[in-house]
Amino acid sequence: MTGAFSALFVREIRLAVRVGGGALMGVLFFLTVVSVFPFAVGPDLKLLSRIGPAILWIGALLATLLSLDRLFQSERDDGTLDLLLLGEHPIEVLVFVKAMAHWVATGLPLVLAAPVLGIFVNLQPIAIGAVMATLFVGTPALTAIGAIGAALTVSLRRGGVLLAILVLPLTIPVLIFGVSAATAAVTEPTPFLTPFLFLCGLSLLSMVFAPIAAAAALRRSGD
């Protein structure tokens, strides 16, 4: 089983970095969204640095959702999904491996790009560190929750928008704890660790339960 899933993981990463893959697209989208914000908000550096963590988080959330709609749909379109489902391995693990490969290919680059974009929105070094830390533990939750939406909309032609509508409300807790931990790092009396640990908890929880939900949706997708 390990061999099968490591093969799947390697294949996902390869597909993500080759032409037409999602890896670069996510980062570029993230870059675009975040760099548009200062134009809208104006040259108020204080305001920018105050809402900076929120901008980065919203950017990361949208970039994750953007690339997620193809997670299972591209497999269904060319008939691969049927064959993956006919494997002798649990579909829950299949979803987990695909989601994690997706995170490594598109979520992790967002975390790594965050420091550069943090400068765009006038973040202090310590705030940049905090945003990176919260994105690092928070984006797996976004990917996992998004995988449920991707599995539910797998048979719909234009499922991307529906995916966002379904998934965005579910990501609100992650967003709240992620942004509050990142801002808490620079505003004095509020503690960083409490919301950060909540964020870790949310991430672990969604990595366990989202594959179960998404697998249930995929099993029903054959019709």
Binding site: L8, R11, L15, R18, D78, G79, L83, D223
Partner: protein, 206 residues
Amino acid sequence: MGDLAIEGRGLVCDRGGRRVFAGVDFDVSAGEALVVTGPNGAGKSSLLRTIAGLIELADGTLELTGGDPELPLGAHCHYFGHENALKTQLTVRENLEFWHRYYGDCGVSVLEALDRVGIGHLDHLPAAVLSAGQRRRLALARLVVSHRPVWLLDEPTAALDVASEVRLGELMSAHLLADGLIIAVTHGSLPLAETKSLKLGEARVA
């Protein structure tokens, strides 16, 4: 695995609220090939997908004897559908290597399998540049590279030239000799000597 057999009794399939077929009975056992024929829309492909477990059975029983009791019927099957399940960004070899590792090894290497379907010389090319027939052959190599006792073939000869059809016939005969079992949907004739047949639309084993 000598006594492997699949028995379907009174199979009913509904798709999208419409009854596709009802009362389909069939028996296939190791070393036998069942050819499913019938007009367009008679539910031939739906029958294959139902056997694989990709579509839920609305009624009837579908039993596998002599297989691994811990695995569902679908995990005994190679499903060879209309789609070739290829990733055009990956090379021919990478495509097959993935299925080799995902479905498990059976002693046939990736290159050997590619040779057996006649595209061994294309192994380093991206699958995007293959012709329709070559893609079909690459998909066929998947059946060779991992062993599964039941082959569910949906229009296996589509897009294949005469030489490849002969090759497909050889692969199928070898699979049957090794106590495999084949259920194939086709409009034409299969390159096999002896087959059982099931006509959908009339739904009885002749």
